[in-house]
């Protein structure tokens, strides 16, 4: 049976991973396989892990404020490797207008700090067809 595989990655230099872990556990409890890679990931590491783990979704969490450079870097790397079937979602403190721009550029959804994990689960379930 096919299972939804999700990579949860924490990009950027600072921050903790409490929020990311909460999301990871919620996805696991919804029956998904969650690959968790820990803090301080670079876009290259995220891309390589996503390839080797054959994930359906990449969830990127960041607090550092570098979202307008880091998200596009991951997208660019995936594109360079001709990977077009992985959905990217984001989490963290991201201003409304940036969030809008990122979504315009192909990030599927951005979830703010107060998001109910159920919404994230449902979003993934509705987008990833198995």
């Amino acid at each position: 049976m096919k299972k939804i595989r999700v990579l949860i990655a924490k990009l950027g230099l600072n921050g903790h991973d409490r929020g990311a872990k909460v999301v990871a556990r919620a996805l696991r409890d919804a029956g998904m396989e969650v690959i968790y890679t820990g803090l301080h990931q670079t876009p290259e590491q995220v891309m390589e892990t996503a390839i080797q783990e054959d994930v359906d979704v990449i969830g990127i969490s960041l607090l550092s404020g570098a979202h307008m450079t880091l998200f596009p870097m991951v997208q660019k790397l995936l594109k360079e490797h001709r990977i077009d079937n992985i959905m990217i979602i984001g989490g963290g403190i991201i201003p409304e207008e940036d969030s809008f721009k990122l979504k315009q550029a192909g990030i599927a959804e951005i979830f703010g700090p107060g998001t109910n994990t159920k919404d994230i689960v449902n979003f993934i379930l509705s987008k990833v067809k198995k």
Binding site: M1, K2, K3, R5, A24, R25, L27, R28, D29, A30, G31, M32, E33, V34, I35, Y36, T37, G38, H40, Q41, T42, E44, Q45, E48, T49, I51, Q52, E53, D54, H81, I83
Partner: protein, 314 residues
């Protein structure tokens, strides 16, 4: 799409896709695996088992760095438990292997146990084959780490590392309970914390209770600290010695033969059963027989005999 061909051409995306097909029990995976078979058999598969938290992932991370210095290409399969209630899994072994994520000569795959009870997943052996055909020289398999139940790994690993740590009495108990016979090298990891000498003494004593005939491999006890990166090169040496022993003694031939036999017999059994269920048994017959067994009109032994006799007489 011919995944096997892509894999043999060095395409890691194809490797990842085929592993997924194997995990999902896709019939297509069988076709691809059969193509890969003739390209397998070169890798040294190393099992790493031991209680949760003893440092299996950290140790594999460090051993991998050491093998890379020797120019070896490394594959890692890390299994974590799948929740029996939700079917989900939290796969966190990669956290300890970050330095290797972007090395093109390393391939890491995390895996949920998906209902298997023996410490590895049903798809682990086939995944090891894929990495073997892909050209990995060394393949580490990290088991779920349930201790006693981790017996399946002994069937697919050529060398089995049993990891423990100082001060964990329970751990040593777990070793006592069954894996003592199958471990080739016992590793006391976290040798940077107190209690290492006691653990070493205890393990040595345990191993001395068994007598090893001359010329047979006697399990070794090694001390490592994945945190301080000590004892790692020595452990690699010990693993290499074990491989040399397997080759010199001819035991490797016996191991591979047994492995092939187990795999082949399992496949025959699976295919025969499938064929009978799909083509031979008449619709409803199975349920009818089961009904009769429940009602005690026939016993299951005779019912099975009758069925098999009928199949072969037809």
């Amino acid at each position: 799409m011919n995944l096997a061909e892509h894999i043999l051409n060095g395409d890691r995306k194809a490797v990842a896709k085929l592993i997924t097909l194997v995990e999902n029990n896709s019939p297509e995976s069988i076709k691809q695996l059969s193509v890969l078979h003739s390209h397998c058999g070169k890798a040294h598969v190393i099992g790493v088992t031991g209680a949760p938290g003893c440092g299996k992932s950290s140790l594999i991370g460090k051993l991998t760095a050491e093998y890379r210095k020797l120019g070896k290409r490394v594959g890692i399969i890390a299994i974590d438990p799948t929740s029996p209630f939700t079917g989900g899994a939290f796969l966190g072994d990669r956290i300890r292997m970050q330095e290797h994520f972007t090395d093109k000569d390393i391939f890491i795959r995390s895996m949920g146990s998906r209902g298997s009870l023996g410490g590895i997943a049903k798809s682990t052996a086939d995944t090891a084959k894929i990495l073997d055909a892909f050209g990995k020289d060394i393949i580490f398999i990290e088991t779920v780490g349930a201790g006693q139940a981790d017996v399946e790994i002994a069937k697919i690993a050529l060398t089995l590392l049993v990891v423990t740590m100082p001060g964990s009495g329970d751990d040593v108990q777990a070793i006592k309970a069954g894996i003592l016979e199958t471990g080739d090298i016992f590793v006391i990891n976290k040798a940077d914390i107190p209690g290492t000498e006691q653990a070493e003494l205890y393990l040595e004593q345990m191993l001395n209770l068994t007598s090893y005939p001359a010329g047979k491999w006697k399990p070794r006890v090694m001390k490592t600290s994945a945190s301080l990166n000590t004892g790692i090169a020595e452990l690699v040496d010990a693993i290499q010695s074990h491989m040399e022993y397997l080759k010199k003694s001819g035991e490797i031939g016996a191991k591979l033969r047994e492995k092939a036999r187990v795999e082949f017999m399992a496949l025959v059994k699976q295919n025969v059963t499938k064929y009978i269920l799909e083509h031979v048994i008449k619709k409803g017959e199975l349920e009818e027989t089961i009904e009769r067994i429940i009602k005690r009109q026939i016993d299951p032994y005779s019912a099975a005999d009758e069925l098999v006799e009928r199949i072969f007489s037809e």
